[in-house]
């Protein structure tokens, strides 16, 4: 039986205004949510949810075979319709992130396939997808040289920086930036931006995101230990 | 139809040329580094780029290979901004496919294909701006690209178009003359052996008028040949003189 809770619009707005700017939304994960895959994760960041699955190392199509390393394949499935060029761009970004993290030389002539299904996009979708994929790789026990954590920030018109923006913040804001950090030195693996911003705003966003990334890494550790102890 | 006279009473065409006059031809060989041979050619306002890759291993399906001769693969495409109205597809439409087939046949006749069995040669032609005579410019550009790539051929292949307006044969027709109701003859010839490799005619022309037009087009082809050949030779002489200096010094 599904039940609905009626929320007044004013209440919702009030709630959103109260929400602090400098915290991440609540992270929840379900490791091994599917059974036929080598690794699977459903990750929620607030209301944004995505599902990641990993197959591999497995056989590779001859045409894509690389003799000295594994081929990383990444497929992004949008919630509705066929993948569009914007989704292709997302695929390419994530593919090159995981090509850098996975130690591909360990599995020459094989493929590691990551499939991402967008289930609910309510802000910071790219960050959520990257985090889900990283957790799925951990679940599948694929060797990585470092973990990655993605954190998005948005820049409001007045230059105020908001961490982990909701859809509303993203649309209202002047710019949004997604940072991806590595777990070793917290260096920047990837940056994807949209909209105009100044160098000062960039720097403020970077500091904020870097601090938050440690919480994401801690969350990865907690999720894994919960799974292993169980 | 006043104002749309393709040939004025004084004997001049809409763009001020005489009936037997060609449009200005400018070209440059070896414009690109990636390709094995390339050429850029302008005939009036028609601008064409040709690139040649190969001979190289057969791509995609070994089944296509010919055991006794070279496989020639052509692709003709027009940039979407090359025509007055935007083209929806740069290639793959019927007209481009027909053009591709024609180019392939033309070059099969002139390249010494038996020298390269079981391999492939790619000829890519891109029309950047179109003002009539696309086939002719494509053939001429591709010939230059093949020369640049050093592919052995029997002779140059030179193409030229012609029409018959107000009882006068005209040569190298532009877009306006092409789209008028008159007949259009396109010929590709081997200028030195005076052989016709390709001939196409659209719409109606009286039998008696055919040979004057063909003669005129043939002369046009030879004129183009002289222009191309002159510059190709000059460049080659300059190049070899330079090489000699490098070798000796």
């Amino acid at each position: 039986m599904a039940s609905f809770i009626v929320v007044k619009k004013e209440d919702l707005e009030k709630k959103q205004n109260v929400e602090p700017c400098h915290t991440l939304r609540c992270l929840t994960s379900e490791l091994g949510c599917l059974t036929r895959q080598d690794g699977s994760v459903s990750l929620s960041q607030g209301d944004t949810t995505s599902l990641a699955v990993v197959y591999g190392p497995a056989e590779v199509r001859i045409s894509r075979e690389l003799i000295d390393r594994a081929t990383v394949e990444l497929v992004y499935k949008p919630k509705v319709g066929l993948p569009r060029p914007a989704d292709r761009k997302r695929e390419q970004i994530m593919k090159s992130i995981f090509e850098a993290t996975i130690i591909t030389n360990l599995h020459p002539r094989s493929s590691i396939t990551i499939i991402l299904q967008e289930t609910e996009d309510l802000g910071s979708n790219l960050a959520c997808c990257i985090n889900a994929a990283c957790l799925a790789l951990l679940d599948a026990a694929v060797n990585m040289s470092f973990m990655v954590a993605a954190v998005a920030v948005s820049v409001a018109d007045e230059g105020q920086i908001k961490l982990d923006p909701s859809k509303n913040d993203e649309e209202k804001g002047r710019a949004s930036i997604t940072f991806v950090f590595d777990s070793v030195d917290l260096n920047v693996v990837s940056i994807v931006t949209s909209g105009k911003f100044s160098q000062i705003e960039y720097k403020a966003g970077l500091e904020l995101a870097r601090e938050a990334s440690q919480k994401v890494f801690q969350f990865f550790k907690d999720s894994m230990s919960r799974k292993l102890i169980r | 139809m006043a104002g749309m006279e393709l040939l004025s009473d004084q004997g001049f065409r809409t763009d001020g040329r005489k009936p037997n006059e060609l449009r200005r031809i400018r070209f440059k060989k070896g414009v690109f580094k990636q390709a094995d041979g390339s050429a850029y050619l302008e005939q009036g306002n028609t601008k064409v780029l040709a690139a040649v890759y190969g001979p190289h291993e057969i791509r995609g399906g070994k089944g296509k290979a010919l055991h006794d001769q070279l496989l020639i693969n052509c692709q003709y495409s027009m940039a979407t901004f090359s025509t007055q109205d935007r083209k929806r597809r740069p290639r793959g439409d019927r007209k481009s496919l027909e053009m591709t087939a024609h180019l392939k046949q033309t070059f099969n006749a002139v390249i010494l294909t038996e020298l390269y069995p079981k391999v492939q040669l790619d000829i890519y032609v891109e029309v950047l701006q179109s003002d009539g005579g696309n086939y002719c410019a494509s053939v001429n550009a591709a010939t230059l690209a093949l020369i640049d790539a050093g592919i052995p051929m029997k002779d140059y292949v030179i193409a030229c178009s012609g029409s018959y307006i107000r009882d006068t044969p005209v040569v190298d027709i532009n877009n306006l003359e092409e789209s008028s109701a008159g007949a259009e003859i396109i010929m590709a010839i081997l200028p030195r052996c005076e052989q016709i490799v390709f001939i196409e005619m659209n719409s109606r022309l009286h039998e008696d008028h055919l040979s004057p037009v063909m003669d005129q087009v043939m002369t046009g082809c030879k004129d183009i040949f002289n222009i191309l050949n002159q510059q190709v030779r000059d460049e080659l002489c300059k190049k070899s003189a330079q090489d000699r200096i490098v070798d000796s010094g």
């Binding site: 060029p85 970004i93 992130i97 693996v189 160098q199 | 580094k33 025509t83 740069p90 950047l128």
Partner: protein
């Protein structure tokens, strides 16, 4: 001998040059290849340009069409499309656009949206009835790396030279009239310029990579600047970079931005004359 070494051990070959802070083509690490620009080279297009960065050649043609607007009734459309045909490099196959072409097209669309260089409201002919659709077709003629920068430069210079015919819609009959004799210049509010750097051996940053350098790279960063603002930083994965390295990239982006903008202005001036 050097050529064989270059083919067999490309990384070692490069390392020996880079130790001495120079690249095999005689450039410094932060040096751009010579950039050549030609504006208005295709007379059948509403706006056009040809850009050469070293050997990389991109031609941009802009064709305008009128269409019915979407639900909001006043926004026109800008449709960038990058074409990488087998003509430009032996690495591309005939057939539908590959991943690189699709991603580049998307990057171009994002660039216009992020910088707001062409306001979609300005493409309105008659509110609720007729708007302009600008098809921006970018054809790569020779591929030798750094397509992103060449494409942005070609697109921006072509947009700046685009002029549209004056179109009027008859109120009563709904008839569309075009006046080919008078044309208006497309308003372009700003001029974003992109700068691409690659990471070599996880540490060195090389500006304006050739296709050979791109194939050896362990990561890439593209910085798009516009005036004093950053329009986009695009680093799709690859080697992690320190803050200082990224700051250097942004600095380099601003310098290149200034150079490229003055080049566009100069070329536009010489064309007008």
């Amino acid at each position: 001998m050097a050529d064989q070494y270059r083919i067999a051990q490309p990384k070692d070959y490069y390392r020996q040059f880079l130790e001495k802070d120079v690249r095999p083509d005689n450039r410094g690490l932060g040096e751009y290849r010579a950039t050549v620009m030609n504006i208005g080279c295709v007379s059948t297009a509403e706006g056009s340009s040809l850009v050469k960065i070293g050997n990389t050649t991109v031609m941009c043609g802009i064709k305008a069409e009128v269409a019915e607007p979407g639900v909001d009734g006043k926004n026109g459309y800008l449709v960038p499309n990058v074409e990488l045909s087998p003509l430009c490099s032996a690495n591309f196959r005939p057939g539908p656009p590959g991943e690189l072409a699709q991603v580049l097209s998307q990057n171009m669309a994002d660039l216009i949206a992020d910088s707001q260089c062409v306001k979609l409201e300005n493409l309105c002919v008659c509110p609720g009835k007729l708007v302009w659709v600008l098809h921006i077709d970018l054809v790569c003629l020779d591929y030798d790396g750094n397509l992103m920068d060449a494409c942005t430069l070609a697109m921006m210079s072509a947009l700046k030279s685009t002029s549209l015919p004056v179109v009027t819609v008859d109120e009563e009959s709904g008839e569309i009239k075009t006046d080919p004799s008078s044309r208006t210049l497309l308003p372009v509010s700003c001029c974003p310029v992109s700068t691409t750097l690659i990471v070599f051996d996880n540490k060195l940053l090389l500006v304006d990579p050739t296709s050979e350098e791109e194939s050896l790279a362990t990561g890439a960063v593209t910085v798009v600047t516009e005036g004093k603002n950053v329009c986009s930083i695009y680093k799709p994965g690859g080697t992690p970079l320190t803050d200082k390295q990224i700051r250097d990239c942004i600095e380099r982006g601003f310098i290149r931005g200034k150079e490229a903008r003055s080049l566009i202005e100069e070329t536009l001036c010489s064309v007008d004359r």
